[in-house]
Amino acid sequence: MKKLFLGLFAALAALTLVGCRKTPAKSDSKVFHIMAWNEEFKGFFEKYVCDERAKFVEAAEKKDDSLKPKEYHYDGKLVKWTIVPSEGGQYQKSLDQHLKANETASDDEKVDMFLAEADYILKYSNSKYTTPIKDLGVYNLSNTYEYTSQVASDSKGVVKGVSFQCCPAGVIYRRSIAKAVFGTDDPAKVQEKISNWDKFNAVAADMKAKGYYMTSSFAETYRAFSNNVTQPWVNDDLKLQFDPQIEAWMAQAENFIKNEYTLTAGIWEDGCTNEMFATGKTFCWFGPAWYYNFCMGNAQDETKGCFGDWAVCEGPAYYYWGGTWLMGAAGGNDDYLVGKCMNSFINDKDVCKALVKNEGQFSNNQKANKEVAAEYEKEGTGNAFLGGQNDTKFYLDLAKRIQIKGMTIYDQYCNEGLQKAFGEFLKGAVATKADAIANFKTQLHIDCPEIVFE
């Protein structure tokens, strides 16, 4: 009798567990279909999670692409990629078509998982075309950084995506200029000098006095402000609103241009990046870890660059920049595999450590990052580009403190549009600040006619 009760109890318990944690069922489909806009994640997927990963690792070690299997599998299913470049909105257009047709598409065509960037992730997380990660079998987010879930949550707070990387950003500065102006290039001491915006602005004046620029683009500091807004660009009534942080950026940009603390170039323009050469007179840039390799080619130039003359510190505000999120497509066949893949990239410590050590990433697993940072510390190694600074250790703490509030699907239009329109005012192409804002609204009205203005 006792046994029977125990048995019943166990069965009940199992049922309740199943009830609250439904594991997605396996399907008979033979293909696992992923959409992305470049090959970055594909490389990680091949080397660290697919069934034939050993062969890919071998190919990477021997630097011989012919060793890579032409076809490979994930949990026995053939992996199929659809890669569409993001230029001119191509990726999103193609993705939208696929997602809308996903329910009725044939098994081989159904998209199971796709990649999204922070700039437009809300468009997908707020739609019915994505599956909550809980339903995919991803429950444990305790290792990840909080902001990565905030970014991927829909308007009700349901998490719809998982990032395989974390992109805390700081102030990347020239050591030689820091020495010339502050007398020290130590990141902790430099941080003291620019730990809030008032100090940062004051240092800009010192830089000018010694013949340097603080930054080389009026928009350099933009993300450090816009990541810290407390109200969204567009409220529930679809009304456009300016957050005090955005106002503060405009005031700073105007002040910096007026006093010649910065240049009128945009952040991607040669006028800005040419300042990264050894001959440049600019003190700092704002960026995350990926910025060194992706955007600082001029600084790493063998003849004209200044490799090693750099260091990174927190700067005046916590912010992040970039990142890639994995999302499960509604109507896909293999929800359990999407969940398995997501879990690998946030909860499998070995995979995450490999990302940090081999791929120059800062992973979305706090423990993995911590262990790698400690290993570097023990070995006394660091990033040669940053003059030996252990930046993995530096980002550890920074990443935990980033908070995201008030994201909307209009952010990309608003952020890029305002920078562009305000830049025209700063250059003198538009007479007043009010004219620049009016031009910004004019463009925004063309892009998003549903937004209303006061």
């Binding site: 001119g88 909105g89 939208d96 997602l99 809308k100 468009k123 997908y124 707020n126 739609s127 075309y129 009128t264 170039a265 323009e269 040669d270 006028g271 040419n274 699907i409 562009k420 025209e424 250059k427 003198g428 192409a429 538009v430 004219d435 009016a438 031009n439 609204k441 004019t442 463009q443 009205h445 063309i446 892009d447 998003c448 006619p449 549903e450 203005f453």
Partner: protein, 324 residues
């Protein structure tokens, strides 16, 4: 060939039985069959989209994120919105039309003056210039380069860290880089007009030369024998007789100018900077299209269609009158 032969046969032999005539005429059906592919493509890819565009222009129909608004009948709502002042106090379509016309005129004035002079020189039996073939080819060459490549070249030359600025600073003409492209409206417009001029003056020269060569040479000779100066010949003989061709070339150039797009788009990276002063009608159309606003894009397209349609009608009438 067979067709011609059979027709000849029919013409030459009136006494042939009727059957024969019918056979000859029936070849005409091949003509229709051969043009079927063109009309199919035309119907599917030109006429159908045109009708759709026209319908969209009367509908509220746009996408935002993954949501689609409409299509819903909006009567003349899109046209009213198009001709309403924007947030910056400007009616964007009027601004775009003005910009387009200004930039076209800036280029066209020089284009026609220089092309006319070159055409007269090259065709003059008095000057007998050597190697005109070579020069014609050289002048025409820019037209073969893609406008996009040309725009990129100008961007590379004139941006703030480009060679023109480096030169200006080296020679001491400027102590700071000058932003030719995105700060001063007239500088950007001049760049666009210059590019259009270089791209098209060779083409215009060749058309005008054809026109001048069509004028009876004996007129020039007799004028010269009567002692007319070159100026007199140009103003009293060449110009009046060239007028029909000149007007035709002018209006086709105007229609081309109204559709100005690639050069200003690429030079300003789609923005029409500075302060929307280089935004053309087609660039505005493209702004609506890339925002997936089919209704408003349709309205802009219809407005552009009406303007170019009117101008094309003018050209048509002119050519007809000449034939009469």
């Amino acid at each position: 060939m067979d067709n011609i032969k059979s027709i000849r046969k029919v013409e030459s032999n009136d006494t042939e039985p009727k059957k024969r005539i019918q056979k000859g005429v029936s070849y005409a059906k091949w003509g229709y069959i051969f043009i079927i592919p063109f009309f199919l493509v035309y119907l599917a890819f030109t006429l159908y989209p045109q009708i759709k565009t026209f319908i969209f222009s009367f509908q509220k129909y746009f996408e935002s994120g993954l949501n689609v608004f409409g299509p819903k009948w909006n009567n003349f709502g899109n046209y009213v919105a198009l001709f309403t002042k924007s947030e910056n106090g400007v009616v964007m379509i009027v601004k775009a039309f003005t910009n387009t016309m200004i930039m076209w005129l800036m280029g066209a004035v020089f284009q026609f003056l220089i092309s006319l002079v070159l055409a007269v020189f090259f065709t003059s039996s008095r000057l007998r210039l050597k190697a005109t073939g070579f020069f014609k080819a050289v002048f025409y060459m820019p037209n073969l380069i893609m406008a996009s490549a040309f725009a990129f070249l100008f961007y590379a030359l004139f941006n703030t860290v480009g060679p023109i600025n480096q030169l200006a600073q080296m020679m001491g003409w400027a102590d700071k880089p000058i932003d030719f492209i995105s700060t001063y409206p007239w500088s950007t417009r001049t760049l666009v007009a210059t590019m259009n001029f270089i791209l098209w003056f060779g083409n215009t020269t060749i058309l005008l030369m054809a026109g001048i060569m069509g004028i009876d040479e004996s007129l020039f000779e007799s004028a010269r024998m009567d002692g007319a100066s070159s100026n007199r010949v140009f103003f009293d003989i060449t110009l009046p007789l060239l007028k029909p061709i000149l007007v035709y070339v002018l209006i086709t150039s105007l229609i081309g100018g109204l559709q100005m797009y690639d050069v200003p788009y690429l030079l300003t990276k789609g923005g029409g900077e500075p302060n929307f002063s280089t935004m053309t009608i087609v660039m505005l159309l493209n702004k609506y299209l890339s925002a997936n606003n089919y209704g408003m894009a349709g309205a802009v397209a219809v407005v552009l269609f009406v303007i170019t349609g009117g101008l094309s009608f003018l050209v048509f009438r002119m050519i007809r009158r000449k034939d009469d």
